[in-house]
């Protein structure tokens, strides 16, 4: 069982700083996913933990030991690469045994470990094949097997599923989750796919431009995004984010005015009339209602009928296109007006800096959904 800690880790390539002081604690046995758009520094951070990149500042601590000066080969971690990085001139068996041979393990022990891992990953029939004679999914298993046999302190995965087709990706995702349950080791997993992050993680770390935007369990991130970036990044399809200006409303409340739309809300702490705000509402959190009750009305540009669910794409006057999710089949013709009401308790409000003001609005106050992720 291994704990990994990053203390104000900095990384610069020449003058360009790509990681701006990251503090992070990965608990023993946790499955932590780094997620973020490409170029956000998530792979670099993983490689820093692995020892393949040197930090410019700060400390990497594994089990209480500062490992800044310890080379990758001696940190006792195993890594699964995006390209699998299988040695093309060695058989699958040799690939898996290579790391063990390097640590001068007895031949019989190597044999039993490789056989055991191969059986676990169902690659026993391919042990004598070269990597190029394997399919993508099989190569992926070998790459994971190569990590497992080492019995490492922690597993590092660098976008391991991004080279697989969609169907295989879903299958391998489940297997990795099952593997974590079985092995119970500390795992750090890098991906740009937020679905992978949501389904696999104990804790998700959302990174953007070399900074941590938010740390939390998948549902914390979904329910209580701390800023517009996380709000837009987590959830599929993404949250509708709209800019508005707060104006005094009836009965002491405020109205959000966006384009020609006006949304009446109760008074909210932290928002005064005249403030620029961004409000967010997920596609699944809008109800289609009568014109009288509606927050906004918009013509439907396009519908996607998936049978079990329906997506409507509408453009309210003066606002960008918004996505609306409806369960079941929803007959609507293009150009028809729909009247939408936002579910107040899952509406998100952000201030002009993009930081959260309220996750959920109910009866005149910020609804105070539990915010607990940040300390993980």
């Amino acid at each position: 069982m291994t704990e990994i800690e990053l203390k104000s880790v900095l990384k610069a390539y020449g003058d360009v700083e790509v990681i701006h002081g990251i503090d992070l604690h990965v608990g023993s046995g946790q499955f932590v996913v780094f997620v973020g758009p490409s170029g956000c520094g998530k792979s670099t951070l993983l490689r820093i933990i692995a020892g393949l990149e040197q930090v410019t500042g700060g400390e990497v601590v594994i089990d209480g030991t500062v490992v800044n000066a310890i080379p990758a080969s001696e940190r006792g971690l195993a890594m699964v690469f995006q390209s699998y990085a299988l040695y093309p001139h060695m058989s699958v068996y040799k690939n898996m045994a290579f790391g063990l041979e390097n640590s001068k393990m007895a031949r019989a022990e190597i044999e039993s470990r490789v056989q055991e891992a191969a059986a676990m990953l169902q690659i026993t029939p391919y042990l004598n094949r070269r990597p190029k004679a394997l399919s993508g999914g099989q190569r992926q298993r070998v790459a994971i097997g190569r990590a497992i046999v080492r019995d490492p302190k922690a597993f590092l995965f660098d976008e391991p599923l991004s080279n697989l087709d969609a169907e295989l990706r879903v299958a391998m995702r489940k297997e990795i989750a099952a593997l974590h349950n079985k092995l119970g080791g500390t795992m750090i997993y890098v991906t740009h796919d937020q679905v992978e992050a949501m389904t696999l993680a104990d804790v998700i770390v959302v990174l953007n431009q070399g900074r941590i935007e938010q740390i939390g369990t998948p549902l914390e991130l979904y329910n209580c995004p701390q800023n517009t970036f996380v709000a837009g990044f987590i959830g599929s399809p993404r949250m509708n984010l709209m800019e508005a200006v707060a104006e005094p409303g009836e009965g002491g409340g405020i109205d959000l005015v966006a384009g020609s739309q006006r949304i009446a809300l109760p008074a909210i702490a932290g928002i005064a009339p005249g403030d620029n705000v961004t409000f967010g509402i997920r596609p699944e959190h809008m109800d289609i209602v009568d014109a009288a009750q509606a927050d906004i009305s918009a013509p439907v540009d396009l519908t996607e009928q998936l049978g079990g669910e329906t997506y409507l794409f509408c453009t309210p006057e003066g606002l960008p296109q918004i996505t609306v999710h409806q369960l079941g089949q929803f007959p609507v013709s293009e150009g028809e007006m729909v009247h939408l009401r936002f579910q107040r308790k899952v509406m998100h409000l952000f201030n002009a800096d993009g930081q959260v003001v309220a996750n959920g609005i109910e009866n005149g106050a910020a609804a105070g959904m539990e915010v607990e992720g940040a300390q993980a």
Binding site: A50, P71, H89
Partner: protein, 361 residues
């Protein structure tokens, strides 16, 4: 595309008879004819000297100096004639009345030659040398090969050449690939400057460093040992450059995966990078074998005793100031050609096929 559809199977026969064909895929397109003509020209240009060399190496010394030259090694037929100790050369003589008879020549005096009929040794006649034609048969002069190998120490030379070539090639491959590994895998300040410096040495011709190198070799007491030939040429800029450029194409993920797998730098080099660089190593091996086997100037300078001669120096010894023993030179040149040909035949597939199909998409 019709061209591709018409491509025959990739066998030697298929390749040698491939053609584009006319508008309907049959017959001959003008490019077919053109292609075959220039390919035939190329083959002739490359192979005729070698064919001539091999055929001539089986000719006797007299056969070589004959004019007009013959293509095949021919020798004059000789017959035993009663009353003569030595066998006599056989000629076909055309008499004034038009009859043609086979006669043996006893001796030649000026433009006349004295002939005898082998069937009837008593009868001797004088014939003008213009009226006789030598009768020749296909005859191989093996002594061109056996004599130098037995009496002129050529086996020793051959042995020396093999030792020099093998040892030098092994050392070349080892140190060049190590240098290339350093310059390809490690990132350090001045890496490109070092590489430029290495390539820059290509611009210095051997004639310039001949004397200093000789002085170094002398100081080290290596003159007249094979090490004097083997060591100085081992670090080749061409080899370092070739291997380094190839190693740059090895995915960095593999190196990093090996690092994560607790491999030491030597193990990464020996077990990952070297096997993956095999196509480039094979190319360098071929070059190195050809350079070393054909090397002449440097061995000529540092090897002065005949026990340490290499083949090329040994060949030079047949060229006297007044008299060149062409039959021996040609035969031993063929011997010198064989190993290079064999090496090339075995390794040439590495030049064309890259085996670093890395198993990655």
């Amino acid at each position: 595309m019709a061209d591709i559809a018409a491509t025959p199977s990739r066998t030697i026969g298929g390749l040698a008879t491939a053609r584009r064909g006319g508008p309907n895929g049959r017959g001959w397109h003008w490019t077919d004819i053109f292609t075959y003509v220039y390919l035939a020209f190329g083959v002739a240009l490359m192979f005729l000297p070698v064919v001539w060399l091999v055929l001539s190496s089986f000719k006797t010394q007299a056969g070589l100096q004959e004019f007009p030259p013959t293509l095949l090694p021919l020798g004059q037929v000789q017959v035993e004639v009663q009353g003569f100790d030595e066998p006599l050369p056989l000629f076909e003589v055309t008499f004034e009345d038009g009859t043609v008879r086979q006669m043996a020549q006893i001796r030649r005096i000026g433009i006349m030659s004295q002939m005898v009929d082998p069937e009837n040794p008593e009868e001797r006649i004088q014939v003008s040398i213009d009226d006789r034609e030598p009768i020749r048969e296909f005859r191989v002069a093996w002594e061109n090969y056996t004599k130098p190998l037995e009496t002129f120490n050529f086996l020793t030379y051959l042995n020396n050449s093999v030792i020099v070539t093998a040892a030098a090639t092994l050392i070349t491959l080892l140190i060049n690939s190590m240098a290339a590994y350093g310059l390809a895998i490690y990132e350090f300040r001045g890496r490109n400057a070092v590489m430029l410096f290495v390539i820059g040495t290509l611009m210095i011709p051997i004639t310039i460093i001949l004397v200093p190198t000789y002085l170094v070799v002398t100081q080290l007491g290596m003159v007249n040992t094979l090490w004097a030939v083997i060591i100085p040429g081992c670090a080749t800029p061409t080899g370092v450059f070739l291997l380094r450029q190839y190693m740059l194409t090895i995915p960095r993920d593999l190196i990093e995966a090996a690092r994560m797998d607790k491999a030491s730098e030597w193990q990464i080099y020996w077990r990952i990078v070297l096997p993956l660089s095999l196509p480039a190593i094979a190319v360098l091996a071929i070059f190195s074998v050809m350079w070393r086997w054909n090397d002449f100037l440097w061995p000529l300078i540092v090897l002065n005793r005949s026990e340490v001669y290499t083949l090329q120096i040994g060949l030079n010894a047949f060229q006297g100031e007044l008299n060149v023993q062409w039959h021996f030179v040609l035969a031993m040149t063929v011997v010198a050609l064989i190993p290079v040909t064999v090496v090339f035949a075995f390794l040439q597939r590495f030049i064309t096929t890259g085996i670093a199909s890395s198993g990655m998409k």
